[in-house]
């Protein structure tokens, strides 16, 4: 069962982070954001910060799962875990890159 956890954790974290950033983007663009006294120009830094956090978390997971204490006993599962952790990191960077450039609320 812990093997399943090792396999599932990084990508599930990507999914959670991705949905969270999308939700945050919805919040930034909603009228509530302005009502809270935050200007439209604060949106991008907040989103960038969230994306940075998600990427940091993925790097931490990747490093942790390679540590011998947490790594899977079976070499094959260990290999698959690494592949999946790397793909979760790539997915995080790839899907959150738009926060750096695209127009926020149009």
């Amino acid at each position: 069962m812990t093997d399943i956890l090792r396999l599932a954790l990084p990508l599930t974290t990507w999914l959670a982070a991705f949905s969270a950033v999308y939700g945050l983007h919805g919040l930034v663009c909603s009228p509530r954001w302005a009502q809270a006294g935050l200007g439209p120009e604060t949106g991008r830094p907040v989103l960038l910060l969230a994306a940075g956090l998600a990427i940091g978390l993925q790097i931490a997971l990747l490093l942790a799962l390679r540590r011998s204490r947490l790594a899977a006993p079976s070499p094959l599962i260990r290999r698959i875990t690494t592949m999946l952790a790397v793909s979760a990191l790539v997915a995080t960077v790839w899907t959150l890159t738009p926060v750096t450039a695209t127009t926020t609320c149009h």
Partner: protein, 191 residues
Amino acid sequence: MFAGASAILVLVMVLLWLAFRRGPAVRKGGPAAEERDERIWIKGLGLAFPLATLAALTAYGLVVGERLLPRPGPDVVTVGAEGRQWAWTFTYADAPGRATGGHPATSPAGRPVDVAITSADVIQSFWVPRLAGKLDAVPGHVNILRIEAWEPGDYAGLGAEFNGPGYAGHRFTVRAHDAAGWEAFLAEETP
């Protein structure tokens, strides 16, 4: 995009054909061969190749998408479009109180037009194929679509989201006027 897709399709077909054409003589087993096969097929063709192509394509799509966004400008005209089963009603910010039925919507040529799209009943979609992509009309939401007609003339428009039995005939026309014609349209008496 079409050429690239065709090239990839041809590549895959050729690889498949070769798999059946090659004689069994060239094949060698063993872990080293397995390692080499994984490097070529999976890391090379399976990972690196799609990643590079797709990164370029995504970036290109986003740049084009940015260009199509409705941004405020000095000569932007705003037209309202309200969809209902099975007609459109158009209103004009420059001529308050004026509303035209489905035939035709009127707009100036050579000036960007923001169409504020909404719906009175079910979900519709506003599509003038020659002027812009489509955008949905969702009840309770107002979506802004930027269109621009380069030449005066009539442009066919369609409802493009299934909305009940009258869907096939859910059409309208956008009539683009030159500057004088547009002024004349705005100056007309409200009927």
